[in-house]
C-alpha cells in the first residue's frame, strides 16, 4: 500500500502554520498542516485557489515572500529547514529541493539563452567549472527531459521555444542539482491538454528513474490521480483529508472532498450542467473556528463550529471531520 511502504520520510511537515502580514490584516494561509512525504513517493496537494497549497510548496523551497511568518516545523531528512541560514541554507535550497513553476514562459530570464541560465545553475550546484563539461551535463539533462534537439535548445532564447519545450527545459534546470525532492507547483496548468499528459508522463518517468520524491501541487483531481501515490486535500489552509490515491478518490470521506469529486466533469454522466459547490472560501483573514468548510457543508452540525479533529479512519487515511470522530 503506498504511503505505508516503509520508506524513510524525506519531508515532514509538523503543525506548519503560515501567515502573511498584509496591509488589510493577517492572512492565515496555512493552518496547522502535518504531512509526510517518503522516499520515492509523490504526494499531491489538492485544493482550490486560495487554499494555501502553493504557500506550502514555497515554504518548503524557502521561497516565501518576506511578509510571511512560518511556525511549526519543516523537517527535511529530520532537520528543521525553517531555521536554516547562510551556508546550510544554500546547501539545501535548490540543491536538495527544487521547484517547477506554473508558467514556463516566465521562469526564464528573457535576455539570456537557456544554455547560459542552465549553466549558471550547474556551475553553482555541481561546482563544475569547465565549459565543455557544463555543456555536456546540460545536453544530457535536456535529452533526459525529452527535448529533441538539445544543442539548439541551449542556444535558444526563451521566446524562441514553445510553452511545452520551456516547461521541459525548466524541469531540466530543476533536476540539474540532483535534488531529492521535486516540488511541482501546478506545472501543467498553463499548458494545453495534450502537452499536459506528456509533461505528467515525463515527471512520473523521471521520478521513477531518479528515485525522487515529489510534492505535486494542483487543483486538478485528474492530474493528481495520474501522478501521485497519496493525496492531501487542503481547504482554507487546513488539511481536511489525506490518504492514498485510491482511498481519497474512490472512497472520499470529507464532505468537501466528495463535493470536489462531484464537480469533476464526466463524459458519460447524464447531467448536462457542470456541478459546483455553492458559496466561497471563508475570508482567510478571519477563518472560522472549527471546520472551515462548515458554512458550505450540507451535513454541518453544531460541533463543526467548535472543532476539527483529524482522525485516522483507516491506516494511512486521515480525515478532519466530526462525522468520523469515534
Amino acid at each position: 500500500m503506498p504511503g505505508l511502504n516503509g520508506g524513510k520520510p524525506v519531508l515532514e511537515l509538523r503543525n506548519l502554520t503560515i501567515k502573511y502580514y498584509t496591509l488589510t490584516g493577517i492572512v492565515h494561509a496555512v493552518r496547522d498542516v502535518s504531512l509526510v512525504i517518503r522516499e520515492r513517493e509523490s504526494v499531491c496537494l489538492v485544493g482550490e485557489s486560495g487554499s494555501g497549497k502553493s504557500t506550502v510548496g514555497l515554504a518548503v523551497a524557502h521561497a516565501l515572500p518576506p511578509n510571511a511568518r512560518v511556525s511549526g516545523q519543516i523537517l527535511f531528512r529530520g532537520e528543521d529547514v525553517t531555521k536554516l541560514k547562510g551556508d546550510d541554507l544554500s546547501r539545501y535550497v535548490g540543491r536538495k529541493v527544487s521547484i517547477i513553476f506554473q508558467d514556463p514562459t516566465a521562469t526564464f530570464n528573457p535576455l539570456f539563452t537557456i544554455g547560459e541560465q542552465m549553466g549558471d545553475v550547474i556551475r553553482h550546484h555541481r561546482g563544475v567549472k569547465d565549459r565543455e563539461e557544463v555543456r555536456r551535463i546540460s545536453i544530457d539533462l535536456l535529452r533526459k527531459v525529452g527535448l529533441p534537439d538539445p544543442e539548439r535548445v541551449l542556444k535558444s532564447y526563451p521566446h524562441e521555444l514553445s510553452g511545452g519545450m520551456l516547461q521541459r527545459a525548466s524541469i531540466a534546470v530543476a533536476l540539474s542539482p540532483n535534488p531529492e525532492l521535486l516540488i511541482a507547483d501546478e506545472p501543467t496548468t498553463m499548458l494545453d491538454v495534450t502537452l499536459q499528459a506528456q509533461i505528467l508522463d515525463l515527471l512520473t518517468k523521471l521520478k521513477e528513474e531518479l528515485g525522487l520524491s515529489m510534492l505535486f501541487i494542483t487543483h486538478n483531481l485528474g492530474v493528481a490521480a495520474e501522478v501521485c501515490d497519496r493525496i492531501a486535500v487542503l481547504y482554507a489552509g487546513k488539511l481536511v483529508e489525506e490518504g492514498s490515491v485510491e482511498d481519497v478518490l474512490l472512497n472520499p470521506l470529507h464532505p468537501y472532498t466528495r463535493k470536489l469529486l462531484e464537480c469533476v466533469p464526466r463524459t458519460h454522466a447524464k447531467v448536462r450542467k457542470l456541478r459546483h459547490i455553492p458559496g466561497t472560501l471563508p475570508d482567510p483573514r478571519h477563518p472560522p473556528p472549527g471546520c472551515p468548510f462548515q458554512p458550505r457543508c450540507d451535513e454541518a452540525r453544531d460541533e463543526c463550529g467548535k472543532m476539527l479533529p483529524l482522525t485516522e479512519v483507516r491506516p494511512g487515511h486521515r480525515v478532519a471531520c466530526v462525522k468520523y470522530l469515534r
Binding site: A63, F101, T107
Partner: protein, 293 residues
Amino acid sequence: MSSSSELRIMFRLIRRNPVSMLGLVIVVTFVIVGLIAPYILTRPEEAWGIAYNVKDRFLPPSLQHPFGTDEYGRDMFNRVLLGTRFSLMIAVGVVGLALLIGIPIGLVAGYVGGKVGTALMRVTDMFLAFPPLLLAIALAATLGRGLTNTIVALAISWWPWYARLIFVQVNSIKSLPYVDAAKVMGLGSLTIMFKHILPNALTPITVQAALDMGSAILEAAGLSFLGVGVPPPTPEWGLLVSMGWQSINRAWWISFFPGLAIVVTVLGFNLLADAVREAMDPRLRKALIMKGV
C-alpha cells in the same frame, strides 16, 4: 535576439522614419565633430581663445568667417566647432557619472528593500526635493568654475532620477517568476541582481539617458551662461552665448550660432531618444514590422 540584431532592427526602424533619421544624423555628426574638432580647426589659437585679432572684431558672417567674429576678432565658426567637443564631454560625462551613481543605488535599494532600501531612497528623495538646476548652480558655485566641476555638479543633481527609475523597475522585476526561480535554485544575490534584474531593468533608463544627453548640454550651457560653469576663454556653447550677450545689438551672430548649435543638438538627441523608445517598445515595434520594415 542577440544585441547586434537588436541594434540592426533599431536601425532599420529609425531609417524608415525621416524624423528619427534626422535625429540620428544630428547626433552622429555631433559625436564625430566632437571627436575630431581639435584636429580640423583652421584657426586653433582663436578657437581656444588664446589669440586675439582686434582689428577683425565684430565682423558679420561672410565666406571667410561663416559665423562672424566676436569682440576680440576671433572666428566664431572655429569657436563653435571646438565647443562641440566640450558639449560632448559634458553630455557623456554628466549622464555617465549620474548613471554610475544612480544605478547601483536604485538597484540595491530596490532589491534589498527594507530599512536599507528606505534609507537609500529617502536620501534620493532629499536630492529630488531641490530644484535640479538650483542644486547644480549651488554645487557649481561651491566647487568653483571648471569643466570637471561642472560635470560633477550636474551629475550630483541628476542621479536621483536614475536611482528612482531603476528602483521602480527593480521593484516590479524582482517579483517576476524568473527571479523567484533563480532564488529557488539557490543562486546568489549578486548573480540575481546583475544577471536577472539589472539587464531587464535597463530599457527605460536607456531611453532616459539618451534624452538626457541633450538636457545635460542645455543645463551645462545654462551654468556657463550664469557664470558658474566652464571659465572663459573656453569655447563652451553656453559661455559663447553669454559672451555675445552684451553686444547682441551690434553683433547678433556671436550669440546666435552657439545658441543654434545647442538647439540643433538637443533636438537631435530628443528625436533620437524618441526613436529608441519606439524601437524598444515591443508592441510599437511589432506594428512597425508588420508594415514591412
